[in-house]
Amino acid sequence: MVDELTYVYCISDSPLLVDTISDQKNLKCLKFHAFYAFVKQVSPDEFSEENLNKNFADLPWIEIHARNHIRIIGEVMKSSIVIPFKFGTIFNSEESLGKFIQKYSSSLNENLKNIKGKEEWSVKIYCNYTLLNEQITELSEDVRNMEEEILKSKPGKSFLLKRKKVELIEKEVEKVVQLSGQVCYDELTTLSELTQINSLLSTELSDRTDSMILNISCFVNQGRVNEFLGAIGELQKKYKKIGFDMATAGPWPPFSFTSIKEK
């Protein structure tokens, strides 16, 4: 069994004095041809495949290491282009990492070329359904028509219509969410080079009371970032009254827009 393993954070196009990243012992910047790999030597006691799998069942352990993983990449990203690696990517040795880089050099170069001058931003749209339900009469002609019909109807028919109205409101609310969500997505897509739709997170995970309806990553040209953020601000204003709220974060390391392919 090897004494040490090589944990990889990211590959970059330029070097960085790792001493500038505080409190990081054993962090190294290794040069392989035109690439710089940011690595750390780790112990098999913690990071061998078997032990790593055990640790993956330990949420506090994951939290510490995942936060550290992204923090190191974020530090490198301040001054260079980075290809971020998935958390827990470990090589047997620096030599095997070197072989990997050599094998995939054209794909790595292509990634560096593709991500140059672009930033990854995450946009999450939430909907306050209580607020939207309150607005639905104003927004939906069908709901208004049904309310009028209820008023004109005799008690028996009125009772049935009221039950139908509940179903109609639910349908109309979903329609508004769908249409408005699509408008927001289309607008952000126009301002992005690429977008990726991500999984939605529940209210307990997002730590919010409203519901996430869209979770996307946008790859935006640096020259258009202000326009992109401005557009989100406008969408936020426009859709606030129907209960939409947008949470934007970035720039992230380009996790969503990098991938390694065979030659």
Binding site: D58, R67, F85, F87, F100, W252, P253, F255
Partner: protein
């Protein structure tokens, strides 16, 4: 130096971070790598997350994607 989301905020939720570092980024397979974190294994320890994601998929918008080939 350019600021990014990681430096700006100490309050990024762990879910937001895991959503990126476990689901995305360069994934390597091959005999030179001894271990690559498989997302399925991670989710064993994060049952809440996986259940939540499954439930939420039912509510997902049906987004119509335009042709994104801008190259």
């Amino acid at each position: 130096m350019e600021e990014n989301v990681i430096n700006q905020s100490k309050d990024i939720t762990i879910v937001e971070i895991l959503d990126r570092v476990l689901n995305k980024g360069v994934v390597i397979t091959g005999d030179i790598v001894i271990s690559v974190a498989e997302i399925d294994l991670v989710y064993v320890g994060l049952k809440l997350l996986v259940t939540s994601v499954e439930t939420m998929q039912e509510k997902r918008l049906t987004i119509v994607k335009p042709d994104q080939e801008k190259k």
